[in-house]
């Protein structure tokens, strides 16, 4: 197997609700949103890992935990074999230089009171990437890298379009020459025509700079287009993780299957009306017992309600967390 550069090991993260005095007197336990429930996944050097799942499944929380924007409540984040979950001060700064993030919203991710030059030169100076005399040249180089004109340097973020801003965000992340780039919904806020531009730029840069990319998205077609491997998340856990082609061709987890079938087919003659998963996403405050997906799974058995399935191998580099060895992807909750 190839080198693992970044990995999450059994990572969990809760967001606590305010615990009122009245609730404390009543002896009620503090309530929390269980955003991540034991996420494990490995990211190999140089690959693109797509992370998909519906809204609220913890994709963004995981992305933020990977770059240490959120402290994890349990488990470990490993970078090149070393535990980075509790790094502080200069060690954390060094880690963050090597693992950078690009944000979802191009309108709030750039400081509106700083010019592009100020944004980039700050990153270059703080991390001492270049001697002061070479900073201007490096900024020009970075802008060229993301295909912005050199005069963009002296302008403020509000003078740019969404796609251009997202490219400034990429330039900022690349300014510190990271090895891993975590892109959280990189293009979901952009027009479709601009999406392709930005995604292709990212792919090209990955190739040129030998980057490892974690691509968090809810758009399956996009993920299929750019990822080497895909991890599917449901309610804060990874339910399946494997090579893109295999995941899309024959999923081994009923949730993956449901997700793929929920995506509309481009060809109308191949569209179906069968529903692969019914019901609502359970509340992340009160999680279901056993397999988190059993409440909506057409194949649920008694075992699923009590025993938590662990990730197990279904092929080379392909794991899924399901008690079933095989299942019939055409079975739906209706037909059962």
């Amino acid at each position: 197997m190839t080198d693992i550069i970044l990995s999450a090991q059994n990572v969990s993260k809760e967001f606590l609700f305010p615990h009122s005095i009245l609730a404390r007197i009543r002896g009620e336990p503090p309530r929390a949103v269980h955003a991540l429930n034991g996420v494990s996944l490995d990211i190999a050097k140089g690959e693109t890992l797509g992370i998909v799942g519906e809204s609220g499944c913890g994709k963004s929380t995981l992305a933020r935990c990977l770059v240490r924007l959120h402290e994890t409540d349990g488990g470990r984040i490993m970078f090149e074999g070393a535990d980075v979950s509790h790094l502080q001060g200069p060690a954390r700064r060094t880690f963050n230089r090597r693992v950078q993030m690009i944000f979802q919203d191009p309108y709030s991710s750039l400081n509106p009171r700083m010019t592009v030059r100020q944004i980039l030169s700050e990153a270059l100076r703080v991390h001492r990437m270049r001697p002061a005399a070479q900073i201007d040249a490096r900024i020009a180089e970075l802008l060229d890298l993301v295909r912005l004109s050199p005069d963009a340097a002296n302008r403020y973020p509000h003078e740019f379009s969404g796609g251009q801003r997202q490219r400034i965000g990429i330039a900022r992340a690349l300014s510190v020459e990271p090895e891993v780039l975590v892109a959280d919904e990189l293009v979901s806020a952009l027009d479709v025509s601009v999406q392709a531009q930005v995604v292709n730029l990212l792919l090209e840069l990955q190739d040129r700079l030998h980057l490892t990319v974690v691509f968090v998205a809810h758009d399956l077609r996009l993920v299929r287009h750019i990822s080497h491997r895909v991890a599917v998340m449901y309610l804060g856990t990874v339910v399946e993780n494997g090579p893109t082609a295999e995941i899309f061709a024959h999923p081994n987890h009923p949730y993956t299957n449901a997700l793929l079938r929920a995506a509309p087919e481009v060809n109308p003659t191949r569209r179906t009306r069968t529903v692969a998963a019914r019901g609502e996403l359970p509340s992340p405050i009160n999680l279901p017992s056993g397999c988190l997906f059993h409440t909506r799974c057409p194949h649920a058995m008694d075992r699923c309600r009590t025993e938590v399935p662990v990730l197990r191998a279904f092929g080379k580099n392909h794991v899924a967390a399901c008690h079933l060895d095989t299942f019939d992807p055409t079975v739906t909750k209706d037909t059962k």
Binding site: R64, V67, R68, L69, R92, R93, T94, F95, N96, R97, Q100, M101, F103, Q104, D105, Y107, S108, S109, L110, N111, P112, R113, M114, E122, A123, V126, H127, Y156, H158, G169, R172, V176
Partner: protein, 277 residues
Amino acid sequence: MSVLVRLRPATRLPRPLIAGGAIIGACLILAIFPQLFAPYDPLKMDYVALNQAPSWAHPFGTDNFGRDVLSRIIFAYRIDMQIAIFATVFAFTFGTLLGALVGYAGGRIEALFGRVVDAIITFPFLVLVIAIVSVLGPGLVNMYIAVSVVGWVFYARITAAEIKVQKRLDYADAGRAMGYTHFRIIFRHLLPNAITPAVVYWMTDMALAILLGSSLGYLGLGAQPPAAEWGVQIADGKNFMTTAWWSSVFPGFAIVTTGLGFSLLGDGLAEVLRTRK
């Protein structure tokens, strides 16, 4: 490290900014060079010209000591502009910095801070200032201290609330993901985006400080006689209101125009500093 907000070259300055700037600029010139504009010595008494109505010799009349009201108003700019600035600048600086730190820290520190602020705000402002001045003794410097001790809470509360909004935006997270220090994130990134309401309030507060300084002067706790100060002048003239209205009314106009100037400046600044999306 520049904490101050960078002004963008605006295509057209907002009108309130121009008007307010002109009024305050004129006030400052009067405050710096009163002797160039005042026709008489503000302290010189003339016992043959007591309580004279406005005339060509004394455009705003004379007061009950025969002093020229116009000259006293002009010399009072020096004291009253000082009050506007010194009674607010420490409150603004300290309140904004503390508010930024507290808003960024959040949690228990912020809860504790909220209680302290509530406790201070519970007291009527003027009563608290009068209490402090009576402990320290009357006089302008003690008045600056008293107003600053109370005044910072408003700036701190405004800034803390604004920082709380800003720190949740992605650009703050981007700074953290870059490994920047908290200090850099607060003062280089968040504060320039959060300071506008505090600056605008500052301008209003300067007008309020002049009114407060005049109130305290009126009560004999601020500027001391025979110094010329608008509040003192109004207080001195009140006994002759029915026969010599001019020695109270004209200093009142000076307070109103200066207050108006600061308010307009505040409105104009709000427009210029507004964050563009």
